[in-house]
Every structure is written in structure tokens, then in C-alpha cells.
């Protein structure tokens, strides 16, 4: 195995009909995070263990003894996903079980904030696990409070006039750990996500994917607009799709065609479709655009190598 293992692109036809996340879960209508989990489990397959900390995904599983999952899920404490996964991986190795994906599926709060220490520890040790952070950009489970991953200008219940600070760059933090694979994805582009997950599966060590997951109640838009909201995040350039393998970084999906600013749709289209940015005045929007430009410059510099 190795990162050169996967070159071909996976198409819709390659995605199995088998369902590992069954209908009847407790997610809100239009939840992008749970849509992505369904796709993710199709790619990961049955020999997968999910580790889930406190977050919406712990609630989505519904009430014991029922579960929508056909793969084992181990629920752990908010800060402890990566460390729990490290213990699972070590135990499986001791038992001689080598063909199982150990996957953390954690929210942005459990990743950027309270769980970053254990994630950093696992990454520094190079523990063999895939970490998917589904990023709905706030603490949704507790009612949409600000997280380190909340973007500038977004209203949350603890930043009612809009967050003053920028979004924490967790993919950048993970790259600084020199792990083999870091990627961003968006739930509106399931195949892009599926291909990144496949690439991650083909490698060893700590692999990190941050998946933007629009959230109707938290972002304040109607449930049926979830895919559209995610697409606008990418098409306006607010969310950049890329993958980094230590040696190289490349833009993926629609982001590859958005290098020139003029190709991107106006940021306002993304902001206006949601209620959470309703407080952002023109000067705030200019600040946000500036931050987005800086992010593009940073990623493009990485892509140039």
C-alpha cells in the first residue's frame, strides 16, 4: 500500500448499493453530515469501526438498543476520539486483526477545540487511523454555540452579532504534523469525498479529512437547500476543496476551476442563502472576502510546492 496506490477516479457506478447507514436515524431533515456518513460508510465498507465523540452524530444514532449503523460504533467522550481510536487500533494489532479501518467521525468542536490535543497526540505518534471532521461550523448538538471552526461573521447563540474572529485552520494544523494525508471535502460533492476517503484508506498512519457539512437549523436555511448551500460554499470560493499528500497539494472538484477570482460566484450568494450571516454589513463582508483571498493564496502556494 501507499499513497500512489489510488490513481483512478471513482465514479457513481463504483459506489456500492450496499447501505451501512440505514434509514431511520435521528438527524434533522437536510442534515449534510449524515448524508456524508452514508456515503463514507459505503466507501469504508463493513470492516470499519467508527469512533464518535459527543456531537450531533452521537444523537443521530438514536436510542439504545436501536442503531442505524451496520458497522460497530464506539461512542466516546468529547475530547477523546483520537485517543480512543489509538487504543482500538493498538488492540486490533495485538489481536492480529489488520484489515479494519479505524475511523473517528467527529464534529468541528470535538476536533478544532476540545479534541485537538488527543488528535495532535495521535497524529504525532502517527497512529493508524482516519479522522473525519464533519464541519458544521459550530456546536450544533448543544444549540449552535460558536466553535473555533465557526467562520468570521457567523451568528451563533454565543456570538449573536456575528463571530469576530476567523475560522481555525485545522487542516493546516494537521499538515504541520507531517501526516501522510490531509484533505478538505464538502457533503455536496459526494464523489469528491468518496475519492478522498478511498485515497486515505489506501494509506497508513494518521489521515485527516475535513468535510464541510451544511446544517439547516444551525445555518438557518430551509432543509431542502442543503446541497445548494454546500455547492455555493465551494463555488463562491468560501470553502476550498483540496488534498495534500505531504509531497504535493492539489485542488479538486470545482475548486480546480476557481483559481481565478473572477470565476468564483460572488460571496454574497453564499451568505444570503443562510440566516447566520444576516448581521454581516458590507465592511464585514469585505473582511470576509479578504480572509478568503488569503486562504486561496495559502493553498495555491502549497499547490505550487
Amino acid at each position: 500500500m501507499g499513497d500512489q496506490g489510488i490513481t483512478g477516479t471513482f465514479t457513481l457506478r463504483d459506489l456500492t448499493d450496499e447501505e451501512y447507514l440505514l434509514p431511520g436515524n435521528a438527524a434533522c431533515p437536510g442534515c449534510a453530515a449524515v448524508l456524508a456518513m452514508r456515503i463514507g460508510l459505503k466507501v469504508l465498507g463493513p470492516r470499519t469501526v467508527l469512533v464518535v465523540p459527543a456531537c450531533c452524530m452521537s444523537v443521530v444514532q438514536g436510542y439504545y438498543p436501536k442503531t442505524p449503523s451496520r458497522v460497530p460504533i464506539f461512542n466516546t467522550a468529547f475530547a477523546a476520539s483520537a485517543a480512543t481510536a489509538s487504543g482500538i487500533r493498538a488492540a486490533l494489532e495485538m489481536k492480529g486483526i489488520r484489515d479494519v479501518n479505524v475511523v473517528c467521525w467527529a464534529g468541528d468542536g470535538g476536533t478544532a477545540d476540545i479534541g485537538i490535543q488527543s488528535l495532535s497526540g495521535a497524529a504525532e505518534r502517527g497512529d493508524d487511523l482516519i479522522y473525519v471532521c464533519y464541519d458544521n461550523e459550530a456546536y450544533m448538538n448543544t444549540g449552535t454555540q460558536r466553535s473555533g471552526s465557526t467562520p468570521e461573521g457567523a451568528r451563533t447563540t454565543t456570538t449573536i452579532t456575528g463571530k469576530a474572529e476567523g475560522k481555525k485552520d485545522v487542516p493546516g494544523i494537521m499538515m504541520a504534523h507531517r501526516i501522510p494525508y490531509v484533505a478538505t471535502a464538502c457533503a455536496s460533492y459526494p464523489l469528491d469525498f468518496a475519492n478522498k476517503l478511498r485515497r486515505a484508506i489506501s494509506m497508513k498512519g494518521t489521515r485527516y479529512i475535513q468535510l464541510l457539512s451544511p446544517c439547516p437549523p444551525g445555518w438557518r436555511y430551509p432543509a431542502e437547500k442543503t446541497i445548494e448551500v454546500g455547492k455555493l460554499a465551494v463555488e463562491t470560493g468560501a470553502w476550498i476543496l483540496y488534498e495534500w499528500t505531504g509531497r504535493e497539494c492539489r485542488l479538486t472538484g470545482p475548486s480546480s476551476g476557481l483559481v481565478e477570482r473572477s470565476k468564483r460566484r460572488p460571496l454574497e450568494e453564499y451568505l444570503r442563502i443562510q440566516g447566520r450571516f444576516s448581521n454581516a454589513d458590507p465592511s464585514k463582508i469585505e473582511d470576509m472576502k479578504r480572509r478568503i483571498d488569503e486562504e486561496w493564496e495559502r493553498i495555491l502556494a502549497l499547490c505550487k510546492g
Partner: protein, 389 residues
Amino acid sequence: MIATGNHAVAYGVKAARAEIIAAYPITPQTQIIEKLSEFIEKGEMRAKFLRVESEHSAMAACIGASACGARAFTATSSQGLLYMSEMVFWAGLGSFPVVMAVVTRTLAPPWSIWNEHTDMLSQRDAGWILIMCESVQEAYDAAIQAFRIAEDRRVRQPVMFGLDAFSLSHTSERLDLIGQEEVEAFLPAPEGDWKVIDVQDPTTYGNMAGPERMMEIRHSIMERLRGSASVIEETASEFSRISGREQAGLVEEYRTSGAEVILVVAGAASGDAKDAADALRDEGVRAGVARLRVIRPFPAERIRAAVQGCRAVAVVDRDYSFGSGGIIGREVASATGIKPFSYIAGIGGCDLSVTDFAGIARDAISRAESGEEGREIWWGIKGSQGPSP
């Protein structure tokens, strides 16, 4: 051989064939994990050592490993134990048979590395079995027994065993190891049938449970912890047989028969309490000692029986629960229905010698003789003690 308490723990864990060790260093626990790391690196022990970045992660990794049916061990002390506390409860409430050594140490502020039991006792409601060791030998013996108790089908709850900072952790004493064959007969390789993670038999572990199930979930932990008392006794007597050394089980009674005063103690200072009892007996004072080897499940009946008929019960607590009192003193009061003289002593590593125990015993007798009711006494505190709480 001659070994420190910390090394004794490491030898015990090696003999027990723990498969996963996840730990974070803290004085005075460090030698335990250094020795285990050395065993593994030299190929003398087949285990994985996860050098995690915190105690919270240490216990999380142990829980993850245990959830796969592996035998997992960690060790910590004071600040580390409190930092780990969320996961300590996770292990207890999740019924994962993890084993942990706690080198008991004072909590800060102010910073102190010296001995006190408040750290370990603060975790007493977490669903763990709590054992307190008296000697280096007992630390080794407890390490092996702990895995068997934890993994016993009737128990399946985690076990922590305490050893006093420095007076056990760093003090060299004689240590007799048991032959590996005997250990393996006593503690076979882990069956691991408590595992909840299995891709062949997928289950969701720990998702939400409503109020209609919680009473039952907690009740089953309560029953298993209560039932563990007989398993602890049984394990101790079996271990006595293979080691040729008498094991204490729940409570060790020392010269309690016909005693007018009984010192109730736990941990490394118990030996000094016994020496004090000997000295007092030589002087005609009928003193005895009831040593709690196990604090959870609290051996209420054994303590009640031990102190029956004695004139003064003197509980010596090297710990304190603010707003309540000495933790063991409170437990003894509720278990026996008598109000003991509750001595708070040895706090923050303060000396607690044979002379102190003899003084405490005499003090308790004279208080009882003058008709005083049981009360709290801060033994050895400088200056006036103020009114009784």
C-alpha cells in the same frame, strides 16, 4: 529480589501480560511506566505501549483497547488522575475491565508531591474497585489479582490499586516474584469476551439511553460491584495458595480480638499502626488494627464485625472531604452506626509514625473514657484546632 513499589507494580503487570499500556508520566508514578516501557522495548514483554499526550487520552486508549477485548493497564497520580477523571468514570460506567495503579499524592495547590489519599478517594464513585496496598510485595500481588478480579465474569468492572507516594513507590523492600507458570494458571490469557467492538458482530456502543433504561444500567453496575466483594476474597485466597503468602482480601484484622481500641487504617502506614498496636499491647493497652485493603466495594460488614465491642474506634484518614470529613471516617460511621473518632493525619505527606498511631490510640481511649462522642480531630496540626465541626 529487592525492589521499589513502582518496580513491583511493573513486574506484576508484566507477569499479568497486559497487552496495551497507555500512560503519561507524573511524579511519583514514572518508574512504573519507565520499567514497563523498558520491558517492552527489550522484548521481555509482548505489549503495545501508547505514549499518549495526557492522562485523559491514556484512559481513553485503555478503554478503546478494552472495548476490543484487550487487557489494558495505566498508572497515574494526583493531578493526572483528576485530569483523567472523565474517562475514569467512562471506564467504570461502561464496565471495561481496565486496571490502573494510582500512586497516591497530594493535590495542588500548593504544589506537593508528597503522600495523601484524597486523589484516589475522589474517584470512589466511578464504578471502580479500589484496593490500597500496604507493602511493596502487596503492590506486586495486587497488580496480578486486579486483572483477575476485573475480568471475572461476575465483576467486569475496572480496578485501581493505590500505593502511597514514596513510602511505597520509591522505597525498596524485599519482593518475591511468583513463577510465570503459576501466574498464568491463576490468570490465563484474557478471554476478551467483554469486547463490544467486533466487525463480525457489529454493535453500537454507548449511544443514548433514555431514563427508562438508566436505572437498570446503573443497578447492574451496583450489583456487580457489590458482588465483587466475594470475588475479591476468593481471588485473595487463591493467590495466597499460589504465592504461599497470606493475602488480606477485603479487611485485614490485626490483634483486634478483645481490643479496647481499634485503629482503622489504609495504605502504607498500616504497618506503623500495627507496630503501634504491638507496643501498646506490651504496655497493657489492648489495641488492634483493622486495615482496609479494599475501599470499594466498602466492606461494611467486615468493618462492623472488626470493631464490634471495642471501646474506641479511631479512624485515621490521610485524606479529606471538605464540608464532610475524613472520607474513610464517614464510611466507617455509616457502616457501623457508631460515631468514630475521626483523625485527619499525614495530610500532604506530614509524618505519620508509630508514635503518632500510639498517640492516636491513647487519645481515642481517653476521649471515650471521658464520655466524649466521636468527633473529628486534626492530629498533629500546629496551633489550636478550633471548635469541633
